[in-house]
């Protein structure tokens, strides 16, 4: 054990024999048990297996045996002993762990803290108390991007993120149907009903719309995918007119899918 390492109190050590989801594992390093419980719930919602590690050495030992299964590390910034930033630096220095995306969790949303974590290689951060909608958006986004390109993309994403409670989200998938106020997408990623997203999409690029504000109305698992029904909310009449034109062009060319 590292001399600076302080065991984090937990009565629920990482159970390395637990059943692992095919989607993989999200490792959580946090000394607050309620944070761990809530983050685990949100991770399970994505079909991933949450694993809580008390010690940095336990985390790295586990990763060495299951590197391909660990899709993300959620790391608390403020911990006794080795801080989250110390752990982040060590992981990013070591080629064995460098490519695993790390999202920092912090109750301190000061610019300095965020800057330190991002410049040391974290792909993103989330402010505690955890908000399910924000967490969902960030997790979906991280897990679908190529991790080697993740950092740059996340920095841009963070800068573009609006502050009115909406998050920007790219849902990969196939457009099943579109109307002037609704659309349905088949996607390998789920989305939280009730969430409001700015959906970045190339679907409407022909009519010069690159981002559509949407509210997720329903998300239903069908076979290996999710059918996501969204309402388009908050578009101007001008943009709605462009979507009408787009829909008509789809119907004219008899396309049921795009």
């Amino acid at each position: 054990m590292d001399q600076n390492e302080v065991p984090m109190k937990s009565d629920r050590p990482a159970d390395q024999d637990q059943e692992i989801s095919e989607r993989g594992i999200v490792a959580i390093v946090d000394d607050n048990k309620t944070d761990v419980a809530i983050a685990s719930l949100m991770i399970e919602r994505h079909g991933l297996t949450p694993m809580h590690f008390d010690l940095f050495s336990d985390l790295t030992k586990f990763i060495r045996t299951a590197r391909d299964q660990v899709k993300l590390i959620l790391l608390d910034v403020n911990m006794p002993g080795l801080s989250g930033v110390d752990i982040l630096k060590r992981l990013k220095r070591d080629p064995q762990y460098r490519e695993i995306p790390i999202m920092m969790m912090t109750g301190d949303c000061s610019v300095d803290t965020v800057k330190v974590t991002i410049t040391n290689g974290a792909v993103d951060y989330i402010v505690k108390p955890l908000d399910p909608m924000v967490f969902d958006g960030k997790l979906s986004r991280i897990l679908q991007v190529d991790t080697s390109a993740a950092q740059k993309e996340w920095v841009e994403y963070r800068l573009n993120q609006s502050t009115n409670g909406r998050v920007s989200l790219q849902i990969p998938g196939t457009l099943v149907s579109v109307g002037e106020l609704t659309m349905t997408v088949k996607s390998p990623m789920s989305a939280l009903p009730g969430s409001v997203f700015s959906l970045d999409t190339s679907l409407f690029k022909d009519v010069s719309i690159t981002s559509v504000p949407c509210r997720i109305e329903a998300c239903t698992p069908v076979d290996d995918e999710f059918v996501i029904k969204c309402s388009i909310v908050g578009l101007s009449e001008g943009d709605l007119q462009k979507i009408r034109i787009f829909c008509k062009s789809l119907w004219k060319t008899n396309l049921a899918t795009a």
């Binding site: 607050n32 048990k33 309620t34 809530i38 719930l41 505690k128 108390p129």
Partner: protein
Amino acid sequence: MNLLNEIEQALLVQNVDTHKIGELKALAESLGRHQFLKELRQTYISTNESLIQQLRPALQAGSLDKIRQLLHQLKASAGNLGLSRLHQLCLIGELFLRVGGRDCNEFRVLLKHIELEYAATLPKLPEA
């Protein structure tokens, strides 16, 4: 930072954010985790009872870093369960210490409010 003014403002915050609890409940129910809130409540109590008891001895010993850590932990747990006022009071204490606040008399007033708020919100924690 005027601690007493900050406390006054914090006491205006609603003590429980029922929307937060409702959101967690819906999430847990959607995963079939019907006991989740009950488990979370137990985790909250088992962790924070001890934190609360450590605050005054830490103040008497002048261990300000320790107090800051304790408040940080309590703040996170309170926020997770939608205990907005307790979260805010802990946040104020943490910030006060971070900016070098050292007025023990004012800090004792804050600790008193934190202890009272902790006790007042225990019966309001979700049972299930």
